[in-house]
Symmetry: C2
Subunit: 316 residues, 2 copies
């Protein structure tokens, strides 16, 4: 349920590269042409354009974009132009190298661990290690707040079984185990990390449902009531990303456009990273949650090239 639209007849990678090169030529940049090309090509097509551009002009397309574009528009186009694994490796690295790591930075890591495919997560780890010459886990242990190091290392190291195999007895048993740790305010126990980072998504959903049936409350509500700061917030986001990535991202976008001003980094991240996955579902979730369309919310909060680029990814 992607929102990205690709024309029925796609120009050749050489033509696309030439269009981009022409858009960069001389004073100023033809931003519309950049949006017209890159905003309507999927990840595989963008990869071939990157390769072709490099071959034709002996320069990296990403470098050209860096020197031609700026501001939120530039950052969004560049993120989108990266290979998805490289994009996410860079997003995680930026989050970890922030001056202050709060729940908004940690969200990025949870999204990549719990709302992406297991294979994508492995690709991100490979790319991280290639780009930054250390494992992602090393940087987490070095940079993340102490209370969340253990669960983050578990989450990013996970390789969940990618199928709908569910054992209801295990779900019941692990719902009880989670209840015990929540009641004792001991979310940092190994068992919590193990359940959340090794079980497949379908099994986890069954565990959360079993929790609700047995104890009357949703697990994330109980964690909010009994939890302890950053770790509790992080576990809540894990649960949300497992149960419904689309609702999570609808929430990210809602927070980004709420009130005065806009959190452009969060808005860009949500749209760029889901446009080829489930942004249509995110739109539906947004509409249901807010009784107003996501497209309108984004249109109202953004302008010019940045707005036009996001609207392109939103399928407008």
């Amino acid at each position: 349920m992607a929102t990205l639209t690709v024309p029925q007849e796609v120009p050749s990678p050489t033509e696309d590269s030439e269009t981009l090169r022409k858009a960069f030529h001389g004073w100023g940049t033809d931003e519309k042409a950049v949006i017209q090309v890159l905003g309507h090509r999927n990840a595989r097509q963008r990869k071939i354009i990157r390769d072709t551009y490099q071959e034709l002009y002996n320069q990296s397309l990403i470098d050209s974009l860096h020197s031609e574009l700026s501001g939120d528009f530039g950052r969004a186009v560049i993120l989108w132009t990266y290979d998805p694994a490289e994009r996410d490796a860079r997003l995680v690295n930026k989050a970890l190298k922030s001056k202050k790591i709060g729940i908004n930075e940690l969200k990025v890591i949870v999204e990549i661990s719990c709302a992406s495919s297991p294979h994508h997560l492995l690709a991100v780890r490979k790319c991280y290690s290639f780009l930054f010459e250390c494992s992602l886990e090393e940087d987490i242990i070095h940079e993340a707040p102490p209370s969340v190091k253990k669960i983050l290392v578990g989450l990013v190291s996970s390789f969940r079984f990618d199928g709908a195999v569910v054992d209801l007895d295990v779900a019941d048993d692990e719902a009880s185990k989670l209840q015990e740790t929540v009641a004792l305010k001991q979310l940092d126990q190994d068992i919590v990390v193990w359940i959340l980072s090794t079980r497949n998504v379908f099994q986890l959903k069954a565990t959360f449902e079993s929790y609700h049936k047995k104890y009357g409350n949703f697990l994330e509500e109980d964690i909010k009531d009994y939890g302890n700061g950053l770790l509790a917030s992080l576990v809540t986001i894990v649960i949300r990303c497992v149960i419904s990535p689309e609702k999570h991202f609808a929430g990210v976008i809602k927070d980004a456009v709420a009130g005065w001003g806009t959190d452009e980094d969060a808005l860009t991240r949500a749209i760029v990273s889901r446009a080829e996955i489930d942004l249509m579902k995110v739109k539906e979730a947004y509409l249901e949650m807010n009784k107003t369309s996501l497209d309108n919310a984004v249109k109202d909060d953004t302008s010019r090239d940045y707005g036009a680029f996001l609207m392109a990814l939103l399928g407008q």
Copy 2:
């Protein structure tokens, strides 16, 4: 430094498949022909033979080997014929499903986590998940002895940076941290798991050297003196596999052939899994440690087709 020998002119995969099919034909099996083909083909060539055999005879080569061969010879040839990642996934699964999991079973998991490339470990995890419909970590948490669950999950989930980047300050700092946990007999602390499972091999070697310089003893000796059973033994094997996989495997083979009788499973595992990696170095380490050649030790302890197959992998 592999020992595997491949003929200069390799028959086509179709010819190899036909030779194997002929060897299986009628009563009995031509074991020599099986050794002649499979014992002299590398992993890539074996993969193509598996595919070609399947295509020609609409039957899996592994299934044919299962019905034609038996005993230690059959087990060795079949392990060798699998794709290396599948072989290791099956070895780990067998270890985890043993009636009693002791240090010999745990050794298999440590070897794959600490004496293989990070990319191979990821391939093993992918394959495990495909074959057994759950993550390797889930099975470890379910099956492994409690004292070693945490470190095993850390080790198999690792994706170490695959290069020689070393920070000597970090090495000094982590040597001290390891010393503290050893002195307190607290090898189960998160910091031990993090150091051993996230640092690259070169960084870990520097840490072990720093430990030796600072405290006069080798870390593994101190662990033996102050340790606590299974966990201490396991950490010792981790350290050995990091410092010198060849010495570790020389030790595995020595243990397998020592005294009356032979541990054929361990002997097969060591030879099959290292023949394409570093078995030449294992031979050198064996000679240095035992003043007798590994080839002779294996020849003395094995016979017939099984012995002949191992000798083929040893480059004889």
